[in-house]
């Protein structure tokens, strides 16, 4: 089939997803500064927290917690800056209007952003874990690889579902979008237990923080990486069940909010409002 042939249905959707993910997977790797910043920045913060645990004389698994937290930061930053706040950048660059008029619709664009963002980030996250573990000689014992991968996969679906939900909310905003994405950094790192077991927050605070899929995902993966030593927040099966429910809920919520916010943004004329 000729590339210029208009595609329909699933083929159109797939083309749009691949087209939007292309700049994130291939394009981003052409500019080496992105590779540097996306890998080295989370790594610098990670190393700083590793030294905090070293200064406190903490056991080795805490260093492992921090390295996992550093890799998770890469995902969270990708979701907040390249999913949630992406439409803000697209407004600045004039792309948002184009997305609105192409026949594939916004959901396909967002799916492409998610897929491309995930592939790009997973490479950086692996680099962070590998470099961090080599630097500080951390060893992991993955007791159940299939369960580990299942937890990771479900968490990623939930996380990018949350990203699409935020993206639809941010569609209405101008500068607030940038500031809000900025706001959801350290407070989320804290509430989700990026650098310490979430159990330390207490049951109810931990349950509240569990609305962010990374909270339970990190705890579940730590249970699998440090069996017998990590203090679990909830039993592994329960965490996996809640993660699955969150993933479905965020997908449904994202779909609803996207329609609602797109309508509001069109009605209030905010789609091309730059500032």
């Amino acid at each position: 089939m000729n590339d210029a042939t208009p595609a329909r249905g699933m083929l159109r959707l797939l083309r749009a997803i691949l087209g939007r993910s292309y700049p994130r997977i291939i394009g981003a790797n052409r500019d080496k500064s992105w590779l540097f910043y996306d890998t080295v920045l989370p790594l610098l913060g990670t190393i700083a927290f590793v030294y905090v645990y070293k200064a406190l004389g903490a056991p080795e698994r805490f260093v492992g917690y921090v390295i996992m937290g550093g890799a998770t930061v890469a995902f969270w930053m990708n979701v907040m800056w390249s999913m949630a706040a992406q439409f803000y950048w697209d407004k600045q660059g004039g792309n948002l209007e184009l997305y609105m008029v192409v026949p594939c619709g916004i959901p396909a664009i967002l799916l492409g952003m998610s897929f491309g963002g995930f592939v790009g980030t997973v490479i950086r996250a692996i680099a962070i874990v590998a470099i961090g573990s080599l630097l500080f000689d951390v060893h992991y014992t993955v007791s159940q690889w299939p369960v580990f991968l299942l937890v990771f996969g479900v968490a990623i679906v939930g996380l990018y579902g949350l990203g699409v939900t935020f993206a639809s909310l941010f569609l209405l905003w101008g500068r607030e979008a940038w500031h809000m994405a900025n706001l959801f950094m350290e407070p989320v790192f804290f509430l989700s237990g990026f650098y310490f077991p979430v159990r330390a927050l207490g049951f109810w605070a931990g349950m509240g923080a569990s609305l962010i899929p990374l909270t339970l995902a990190l705890d579940a993966m730590r249970q699998l990486l440090f069996p017998g030593t990590h203090p679990p927040f909830l039993p592994l099966g329960t965490e996996l069940g809640i993660l699955g429910a969150l993933a479905i809920s965020f997908i449904v919520l994202a779909r609803f909010l996207l329609r609602k916010m797109e309508y509001l943004a069109r009605r209030e004329g905010r789609l091309s409002l730059r500032f």
């Binding site: 920045l41 700083a48 660059g93 350290e186 790192f189």
Partner: protein
């Protein structure tokens, strides 16, 4: 004001000071007028407080609820770090946003003002936005964590001198980062964050520099922020706290800090002058680095 008064030449200092004041006002508006004061206040304190709470919980998880000198070390470092982010990184983001987002750099630069004074004003406005976070973090430490931040044991004059020197050193570092931002051809907006993250690691912001490898300890001593945070801890926590430089007295710390700051101020001005001249010569002063 009469027309004749407006035409009368100002002294260099008066012009410089007026530019700082107006740039400060402008910077404050850019920083804060996107929302209402309450949300801006919450926004200002949420990130730094979140950062401090991460450290506090890391500490409690390891110490199992016990308390010690390290808690005060964490808290003071976390409380004052927002000034570095806002003042130093904010100065760089100021020029980048003027250049690439608001597209006003060319108009500001060609107006009859000192561009250095303009940058100082913008940076001070950013630094002001860090004040609330610092105050809340210190109050949280004093009243919730029971850290010995007592007025009776503080050396207030020492802390004030250290603070003034600290703001000066942050500006000096800001000029160096701005100089780099002028020269970088791609994605300059991410560079200040990278510098901030590197400084966070090596300046003893959240752990004593004695924990670092020897080569990084030497590097840390060449950066004024290391001495600033050490001096603030000595001024606020009193005697007996954990030290990054246990071999030095309080006065030695302040003297070395002043000397290192002076070197960085001179270096910052020189580097900025070079970067500015180079950017003008190459025609890249207004070049956009993002896409």
């Amino acid at each position: 004001m009469e027309a004749a008064d407006r035409l009368r030449p100002e002294s260099a200092f008066a012009s410089w000071w007026r530019t700082v004041r107006v740039a400060y006002w402008l910077g404050w508006q850019v920083e804060s007028n996107w929302t209402d004061p309450l949300l801006f206040f919450i926004y200002s304190i949420a990130r730094p407080l979140g950062g401090a709470l991460i450290l506090v919980f890391m500490y409690f998880v390891v110490s199992r609820g016990g308390r010690g000198d390290m808690l005060g070390f964490f808290l003071v470092g976390s409380a004052f770090w927002p000034f570095v982010i806002a003042g130093m990184m904010g100065m760089a983001w100021g020029i980048i946003s003027d250049r690439e987002h608001w597209k006003t750099l060319k108009y500001v630069y060609t107006s009859p003002i000192s561009y250095r004074a303009y940058l100082v004003g913008r940076s001070l406005a950013q630094a002001t936005s860090a004040t609330a976070a610092t105050a809340i973090t210190l109050l949280f430490g004093r009243w919730v964590l029971q850290i010995p931040l007592h007025l009776s044991s503080m050396d207030i004059p020492y802390a004030l001198v250290a603070f003034a020197l600290g703001i000066t050193s942050i500006m000096a570092l800001g000029f160096v980062v701005v100089s780099a931002a002028m020269s970088i051809s791609g994605e300059a907006w991410r560079m200040p964050e990278g510098v901030g993250a590197a400084l966070y690691l090596i300046c003893g912001a959240i752990f004593p520099v004695t924990v670092l490898p020897a080569v990084l300890q030497d590097l840390a001593q060449a950066i004024p922020l290391t001495w600033w945070l050490e001096a603030m801890r000595r001024g606020l926590l009193g005697a007996g706290g954990l030290r990054s430089f246990p071999w030095s007295s309080d006065l030695q710390v302040l003297a070395i800090f002043a000397a290192v700051t002076a070197v960085w101020v001179a270096g910052g001005v020189l580097v900025f002058s070079y970067a500015e001249q180079r950017a003008r010569a190459l025609g890249i002063l207004d070049r956009e680095s993002g896409y």
